[in-house]
């Protein structure tokens, strides 16, 4: 249980693609190994109205990296005078992580957003910035293996926003209920061309 620094605080993120929409969901636990300290943590951060970033792993690095990205994005907006594209942001995340190749940030990010045309964009990376692009779903966190299992079972192509919310919620809840280090609440964000809708799930608090 205490073997990896990536599992020290616990937590997980799941992002799925639907028809012209994406959902990104996470649990809300903050713990120190087996002890649960907080049940209202945020690990999904809004980049703009069409892009969100989920960060799992060591909590201190999650917070530090979030502030770092806010800084770089503000500069980007000032220089480019436009919002960043999902693919470009994903690249920014990857190069930030790789810049610390030999003393890494202990986080595993998930980028979820919509392109200008409204097509879903999903990207998960490991702690060194190696990207994994997917058309269906991406997962990260202490129960990643369980999330792969539930997502593979429930996902199908061309889900509407309402269906996508249901599929994402059920996949996340079923997986965290089998993990000691994740859970204690859950949040789901659904990104469509009309904006972001946020819902909190009623989850097991154990």
């Amino acid at each position: 249980m205490g073997d990896s620094i990536l599992t020290y605080n616990g937590g997980c993120v799941l992002a799925m693609a639907g028809k012209n929409c994406v959902a990104i969901a996470a649990d809300r636990r903050f713990g120190v190994q087996q002890t649960t300290i907080g049940t209202d943590t945020t690990r999904i951060f809004k980049i703009n109205d069409r892009l969100m970033l989920g960060l799992t792993g060591l909590r201190t690095d999650v917070i530090t990296l979030y502030h770092r990205f806010v800084q770089r994005l503000n500069l980007y907006r000032l220089r480019e005078e436009r919002e960043i594209k999902p693919a470009s942001f994903s690249n920014m995340v990857a190069s930030t992580l790789y810049s610390r190749r030999f003393a890494p940030y202990f986080v595993e990010p998930v980028v979820a957003g919509l392109t200008e045309k409204g097509e879903p964009y999903l990207c998960a990376q490991d702690l060194l910035g190696a990207p994994l692009f997917a058309q269906d779903f991406v997962v990260s966190g202490t129960c990643a293996e369980s999330l792969y299992g539930t997502s593979e079972t429930f996902w199908k192509p061309d889900l509407s926003p309402a269906e996508l919310f249901e599929v994402t919620s059920q996949s996340l809840l079923a997986a965290v209920d089998r993990d000691c280090l994740s859970g204690w609440g859950a949040v789901v964000h659904i990104i469509t061309l009309d904006g972001i809708e946020t819902k909190f799930l009623k989850a097991r608090m154990d």
């Binding site: 249980m1 073997d3 599992t7 616990g10 713990g31 190994q33 087996q34 002890t35 649960t36 049940t39 202490t142 129960c143 369980s146 209920d177 089998r178 993990d179 000691c180 280090l181 097991r204 608090m205 154990d206």
Partner: protein, 228 residues
Amino acid sequence: MLQGVGVAPFKSTSEWLPSILEQQHMMGTTIMAVEFDGGVVLGADSRTTTGAYIANRVSDKITPLAERIYCCRSGSAADTQAISDYVRYYLSIHELDLDDWPLVKTAASICRELCYSNKDRLLAGMICAGWDPHYGGQVYTIPLGGTMVRQPYSIGGSGSTYIYGFCDAHFQKGMSREQCIEFTKKAIALAMTRDGSSGGVIRLVVVEESGVSREMIAGQDLPSISAE
């Protein structure tokens, strides 16, 4: 210095086996037993883990040793299952010789003997509780080293650390059967909320002269914790 082509690069399987295959089934747990006049209440959560994966989320950690004697198990699932099987076996033979209800102290003593003699190889924390006609309801705790101590109530497992304060504040001598049940439910619910290794459902067993009753309290029926 031995030199040869057949030297293995790894010293043990833990270096190359994925951790989920190496790790034992553990019951990082919350267990509890409370004595009342005429019997005992035993309570436990239902989570068994392999590392951080929950191998069984509805396990039963309250096992019968005799008709009116039960034990709560924490620590290694394999060790505690083996110990309770041995205790049940020895106790059943003893019961035939005795031709009477076995004493709770006897069951606890057999448990203690196994835990103490094999202390270097076992990881087992057990609470042995039940009823006998001579001394009524009794709770005996047998933690890791093999000590045996009788207590009015006992808590154990990894989740118990979170509820010492609650139990110290809320326990009173001479509580009724119903008060003991409520006390146990609330304590275990609190521990399950804080301890990652505890969770699932609350299992309650009430042992008294008239018989044994079992209860399971699932998620939606758990006592509410006000801090949410």
